[in-house]
């Protein structure tokens, strides 16, 4: 018993530190959930209450049903899923191709792709708008997804290159000897090996597309097609400032994000650990 206590003492500093950080990290989430069920007068007059005196689901009702947040959430899902699927479909072959066929170019190419990150999205916006109009893609999900590919593909290619490098050549050679073509090898031999990496990349892409704000604000004009992040912003600009509704809407946006994040964060850690061993 004393030994356990003695051991625990040497851990108090890290435990204390982690506890403080955990409170700081989780408090905003706790607070917005709490605020979203407080009635409007209570929000204005009782800022410190830790539990609502009369909990209400009115804000949620308003946000989900009167203001159509469910529709917007659905839009976000569609856009993010499409972006993820397209990104993986384009980036995985590209990463594999770099690793197998252009190994010397591989290093340089990665740096080049990273430098594409340097250009601020705000200025890409106007040329993008012009392209989309001329192709008839404005206010469409497809146009927005295309814009998203501009930042998701470079990153996905970079991430996946590291993973594909871990696939041992011998396995591929064996498949080749057995008569599998290049693409078959990529699809059925190499890719299953790097599946955790693929999943990690897909999740990362999904989250970035889900949370993206600027392009969605500029390229989607109809309030019914807006993804949830932009819909939330327009709530802040509406006729009456309703903090209760804003809190409920925030919760609606962030909770799926968090749940998804947590569910797969072990994938991310695992995937990154594998990929980091070059």
């Amino acid at each position: 018993m004393t030994r356990l206590l003695m051991n625990l003492r040497s851990y108090t500093v890290p435990y204390a530190f982690l506890s403080v950080l955990a409170v700081l990290a989780a408090f905003p989430l706790f607070w917005i959930v709490l605020s979203s069920i407080k009635s409007t007068p209570e929000l204005a007059n009782d800022p410190l209450s830790l539990w609502p005196s009369q909990p209400t689901l009115d804000h949620y009702r308003r946000v989900l049903f009167e203001l159509g947040a469910l529709t917007n959430l659905g839009n976000s899902l569609v856009i993010s899923l499409s972006t993820t699927l397209l990104t993986i479909a384009i980036s995985a072959p590209a990463a594999y191709g770099i690793v197998r066929f252009y190994p010397r170019v591989g290093q340089r190419l990665t740096q080049l792709l990273i430098s594409t990150y340097m250009f601020p999205p705000i200025l890409l916006a106007v040329p993008y708008t012009i392209i989309m109009i001329s192709l008839g893609l404005s206010n469409t999900y497809f146009g927005l997804v295309l814009a998203y590919l501009s930042f998701s593909i470079p990153y996905a290619v970079w991430m996946l290159t590291a993973f594909y490098q871990t696939v041992p050549l011998e396995i591929e050679e064996a498949a080749y000897v057995d008569g599998a073509g290049r693409f078959r090898t990529f699809l059925s031999v190499a890719s299953p090996i790097v599946l955790p990496g693929l999943v990690a990349t897909a999740i990362y892409t999904f989250i970035n597309a889900f949370n993206e704000f600027l392009f969605a604000l500029l390229f989607i004009n109809t309030s019914e097609r807006m993804p949830i992040a932009v819909a939330l912003y327009s709530l802040g600009g509406s006729e009456v400032l309703d903090w209760g509704a804003m809190m409920a809407a925030s919760v609606v946006v962030v909770v799926p994000s968090i749940v998804f994040f947590l569910f797969i964060q072990k994938y991310i850690a695992a995937g990154l650990a594998e990929g980091s061993v070059k």
């Binding site: 955990a22 601020p120 814009a147 590919l149 802040g236």
Partner: protein, 295 residues
């Protein structure tokens, strides 16, 4: 090697990605560089060449340099803060025997917040009339009345920085944690036998391993923070009195507020040049890290 000789097949693999990069990145970048030499107005389709005039005005404008230095302060402060907090958290998680999973789960939460929710949540918590924090400090007599965190010129930058660190530290924490797991335990044991203390073990074993892995992450994060428009804009709008106006916000105001697209393009071209130079230097450093074996 048989596989490598078929480079034409390889082309098919990389072609779609290359097309995307050319169409969606090269054209807009060139387009913006082109416009930076014109007086293009957001609303009017007629424009004229003005040579280097935009660049001269921009470089002579006090607002530009203020925004530039604010961007530097913002990026350096944020990335450093995120790195330090993430590192300490990862080390602590690595050390504690129980509940590390629970802590890790809680600490990752900020990463999942989209910028607009970060802005709404924190603006609500910090609101000087209805917010939790000012009222709490005031109720406990720690402050005299409600402090306005986002309106007080002494506080607003530090507060915004703290929020950005809150948001970004989990990313570093997770990556460093993964890197820490790659350090062979026996190296630590061997070092302890040799008499190395905690600090020396950290510097000579932990750091080189972690450095290799997160070098590129640091560069990416720095670029991302430097270029990021949404977070600061949604929290403070760049104010008050321009105290939190970074270069992207300044470019946005110029192009979309003042409608001077040519001038805004010039600002971002300068931003781009700065980043390219800085990134080139950083890459040299990182590749030196990667080439140094971690013993």
């Amino acid at each position: 090697m048989q596989l490598r000789s078929h480079t034409t097949a390889g082309l098919w693999f990389v072609l779609p990605a290359m097309l995307v990069v050319v169409a969606l990145l090269l054209y807009p970048v060139l387009s913006s560089i082109f416009f930076s030499f014109t007086n293009r107005n957001l609303l009017k389709t007629v424009y004229a060449f003005v040579g280097a005039q935009n660049f001269l005005s921009v470089l002579n404008s006090r607002d530009f340099w203020n925004a530039f230095f604010t961007s530097i302060k913002w990026t350096a402060g944020s990335v450093l803060g995120q790195l330090v907090v993430g590192l300490l958290a990862a080390l602590a998680l690595e050390r504690v025997p129980r509940f590390s999973g629970l802590y890790r789960t809680l600490l990752v939460i900020p990463w999942a917040f989209p910028a607009i929710v970060i802005a709404f949540s924190w603006r609500w918590i910090l609101n000087d009339v209805y917010g939790f924090l000012p009222n709490l400090l005031s109720a406990f007599r720690i402050t005299n009345g409600n402090v306005s965190f986002l309106a007080d010129p002494q506080l607003v930058f530090a507060v915004a920085l703290a929020i950005n660190i809150w948001f970004g530290a989990p990313l570093f924490m997770i990556n460093i944690l993964a890197a820490l797991k790659t350090v062979p335990r026996d190296q630590y044991e061997a070092a302890m036998i040799d008499g190395a203390n905690l600090g020396q073990r950290f510097w000579y074993i932990t750091v080189p391993h972690v450095r290799r892995v997160i070098g590129l992450l640091l560069i990416l994060r720095t670029i991302w923070v430097f270029n990021n428009f949404e977070l600061l804009f949604l929290i403070t709008g760049g104010g008050p009195a321009g105290l939190t106006t970074t270069l992207p916000i300044h470019a946005y105001r110029t192009g979309w507020g003042l409608r001077q697209l040519g001038m805004a393009s010039a600002i971002t071209v300068l931003l781009l040049i700065f980043l390219l130079v800085a990134a080139a230097l950083a890459f040299k450093l990182v590749s030196r890290w990667e080439r140094t074996p971690a013993r």
